[in-house]
């Protein structure tokens, strides 16, 4: 067992105070995010794959580093869940807990990064809303969706199986178009952010991705509507997320070291 000197403890305490203040004071991050150009319409010749995913169905596939996974929700379906694995070593996967803890907020949106369990950025949220993603309550399950209806958990188990993975590889997930908020009493409630729109995730490593078009279990309406998946490569990759926060910069040091 290691013991630490009072000097080391005092330095750690001071350092945490500085990191927390920097991470939770509005200003620098928002300015960098707001100054970044929007992606706009996907150029017709830039997409290598596009598919409309019916209500309650799912999609899975490889997304190469540098490609953008766009998920468009024109009809405001209430939630679609997402899971990411590293294509090189799928034991590295999206870690919802680290994603919100490291970035000091559960309100993840444009400008933020999606972190793996190995301290690397798997994807950057290069466009979309500023929040309205859920990392706390997850996606739908056989229990929440009810008998006889497809659910995100089971879709992810099937998606995992089709890439040589299994149930043990389906851990916590994140949900898009899901404005889940913790109220002042600690209750998980559905917020009022608009649901329709597009989220653009820039792959920062070679990924296996799965998207379940199943309504979020906390959504007031359980009626799903189609979403569209597009994989495309922009003329120049938007890179503002890499330097949007000191935490993102340090995650990308790990991306570089892990190549």
């Amino acid at each position: 067992m290691t013991t630490f000197s009072p000097e080391i403890i005092a330095a750690a305490k001071a350092r945490y105070g500085e990191l927390k203040a920097a991470g939770q004071t509005e200003g620098a991050f928002e300015a960098r995010r707001d100054a970044a150009p929007r992606l706009g319409a996907i150029p017709a010749d830039a997409a290598r794959f596009t598919d409309e995913i019916p209500a309650d169905w799912y999609w899975h596939g490889h997304v190469a580093a540098g490609e953008i996974l766009s998920i468009d929700n024109p009809a405001a379906t209430p939630g679609a869940s997402l899971i990411l694995w590293s294509a090189v070593d799928p034991s590295e996967r999206l870690n919802p807990a680290d994603t919100i803890k490291v970035q000091w907020t559960a309100a993840i949106g444009r400008g933020r990064v999606l972190l793996s369990d190995m301290g690397r950025a798997m994807a950057s949220v290069v466009d979309g809303p500023d929040a309205a993603m859920d990392f706390v309550a997850g996606g739908s399950t056989a229990f929440s969706a009810g008998p006889g209806r497809f659910n995100a958990r089971d879709h992810f188990i099937k998606a995992a199986a089709k890439h040589g993975l299994g149930k043990r590889d389906v851990g916590p997930v994140m949900s898009l178009f899901a404005p889940v908020v913790t109220d002042a009493e600690g209750n998980l409630v559905w917020g009022d952010a608009p649901l329709a729109g597009r989220v653009d995730l820039l792959a920062e490593m070679d990924l296996i991705a799965a998207v379940a078009n199943c309504p979020h279990p906390l959504a007031p309406s359980a009626e799903a509507r189609p979403i569209t998946i597009t994989l495309w490569r922009p003329a120049s990759a938007p890179d503002f997320c890499r330097t949007a926060t000191p935490e993102a910069e340090r995650a990308f040091i790990n991306n570089e070291a892990g190549r």
Binding site: A12, N95, K101, V102, A107, A131, V136, S144, T182, N254
Partner: protein
């Protein structure tokens, strides 16, 4: 604040877990497990698995979905990834406990605190070693419960680990609703307040059903 009436002298097992170390053990259906924060403000990172099929395990998201509440507290039933009740928290002398912020790791420490922390011990190191005793791997390590760790999530989304609420001798107690393997990392983190910047020992007690 929900106290337990169980007598420590009647416990069938008592384990002191030294600061910074991991522990794992079986808790059989009907048994109660108490985790004591002996010195106060000590995060105890904890995971549970079905002892007969470890592909079924504690799911933080299923648990919070079912409770529609962002924390673990007395009365919370821990739900597995198969939707089954695993344990219920029967006593808690603190108030509420985090299950959204995960376990510290060597890798995430570099991102949170800087690369100079990369040689410090972390909870996921303990979890990997304890999981291996039961035939499990890193991929089996999912979002855990952080007993005695205080991570309020604000309505605007902001969240941070802040000073722990637990005092010396505070405890949580859970009754097992199935045979479970319990994995514990007595958190070694010194870069945030989850251990009061000074990791300390904890104690685990187990009782047979009355």
């Amino acid at each position: 604040m929900t106290r337990s009436s169980l007598d420590p002298a009647a416990a069938v097992a008592r384990h002191e877990i030294a600061a910074t170390l991991g522990w794992s053990g079986l808790v059989k259906k009907g048994q109660s497990i108490r985790i004591v924060d002996s010195c106060g403000q000590q995060a105890v990172d904890t995971l549970f698995y079905n002892a007969h099929d470890t592909s079924e395990r504690y799911s933080a998201q299923d648990t919070l979905q079912a409770a529609r509440y962002a924390y673990i507290r007395a009365g919370t039933t821990l739900i597995s990834n198969d939707g089954n009740p695993m344990l219920t928290m029967t006593a808690d002398t603190v108030g509420y406990h985090d299950t959204s912020a995960g376990a510290c790791s060597v890798e995430s420490n570099t991102v949170r605190f800087g690369h100079e922390t990369r040689h410090l011990h972390a909870c996921r190191e303990n979890f990997v070693v304890e999981a291996a005793r039961w035939g499990m791997q890193k991929r089996d390590i999912v979002s855990n419960i952080n007993f005695f760790m205080n991570v309020p999530i604000e309505p605007d989304g902001r969240l941070a680990i802040v000073d722990g609420l637990s005092e010396p001798g505070n405890y949580v107690e859970l009754v097992a609703l199935m045979d479970v393997i319990c994995l514990i990392s007595n958190c070694p983190q010194i870069n945030n307040p989850c251990n009061g910047f000074d990791p300390t020992p904890i104690e685990v007690l187990i009782w047979d059903p009355a």
